[in-house]
């Protein structure tokens, strides 16, 4: 749900990072926060457990620049990946404009990736969205791990609609901004279609 504010001359879009627990969603936002110009970003808000697992959400507001005199402002959210936080995940998806799925490349986590992807599809459906129709990007994170699965195999198991795919190592920044740019671009293009 984009919010076009003529009074403040800005447009706000909501992007949600989804995926299995410990996949690196929060790490993506931390990296973006650390590398963005302080003037163009707000505080990173993390509602987390004592062990740094996301409890409700992370939130980072980020200005990407100006189009036609309008500030384009993205609200980045992560969901808690742990299975039992499903009620919270549903809430975060409300009003979403684009989704980044952060998959964990470690072989042992493939089942968790698939479960989380199914969960995303059904939670979106509950909110009246169709994953096949909304801006969507797949990030294969933790490419640096010893048990990382082959790229083609991961794609075979996780691709749902020819979405852009990015390999990432989120804690050192690889692929993080490429992923963000891709989803931001898709959301803006969508805006042109529906505007």
């Amino acid at each position: 749900m984009t919010f076009i504010n003529y009074a403040a001359r800005e447009i706000n879009c909501k992007i949600v990072y989804y995926g299995p627990g410990l996949g690196g969603k929060t790490t993506n936002l931390k990296w973006i926060f650390g590398k963005s110009n302080p003037a163009s970003r707000g505080k990173l808000i993390s509602l987390a457990t004592e062990t740094d697992r996301t409890l409700f959400f992370d939130f980072l507001p980020l200005d990407l620049g100006t189009i036609r005199g309008f500030k384009t402002r993205f609200h980045l959210y992560t969901v808690p990946g742990q299975v039992f936080y499903d009620a919270s995940r549903k809430l975060i998806l409300k009003g979403v404009d684009g989704v980044v799925f952060v998959a964990d490349s470690q072989a042992a986590r493939m089942e968790a990736n698939q479960e989380s992807l199914k969960n995303l599809q059904s939670n979106l459906k509950d909110q009246g969205y169709n994953l096949m129709k909304i801006p969507y990007v797949l990030q294969l994170n933790k490419r640096d791990t010893a048990s990382a699965m082959a790229l083609e195999e991961m794609k075979r198991q996780l691709l749902i609609k020819n979405e852009p795919v990015f390999e990432a190592v989120a804690h050192s920044g690889t692929g993080v901004f490429d992923t963000l740019k891709a989803i931001a671009r898709m959301v803006l293009v969508e805006l042109r279609k529906t505007a």
Binding site: M1, F3, I4, K14, G128
Partner: protein, 164 residues
Amino acid sequence: MPTSDIILLEEDFRVIRDLIQKLRNDANARVVCLVDRNGQQIACVGEAEALDTTALASLAAGNVAATDSLARLIGEKDFSTLYHEGEKDNLHLSIVGGKVILVVIFDERSSLGLVRLRVKKHAGELAAALEKMQQRSVQARSGKAGTSPFTDITDEDIDSLFGK
């Protein structure tokens, strides 16, 4: 899309801002903000300079969303207001027009009773103004009213954002 986009025009914004300013004065509140249920800030008035209102909006919406789910869990439709009491400052959250969250921050210069009373008094007018904003958003999307500045953005416009 299930939730409709919000389009806030300058004139609607002024009406809404004036209304919450009036509420702020009447209630002796420090800050009054309007936030949509998805966490977007619509308008804020008062001693808001030192306040991160973007974060406030997101957290208020998260708070309301979570308590709404709690309400449904125990068989209530929703909790129409939330109140958080601090040592100096207090936070009063309520839903106006079913869609928008009204956030009132107040200290010892006011009281919960007064805030409740004033919120009730102004809620109707505010709901009407928001309804108008809503209608305008619907019109704009069907291309009747002021069209979006984004209908004719080009690939170059988007590229320029990313410094390509």
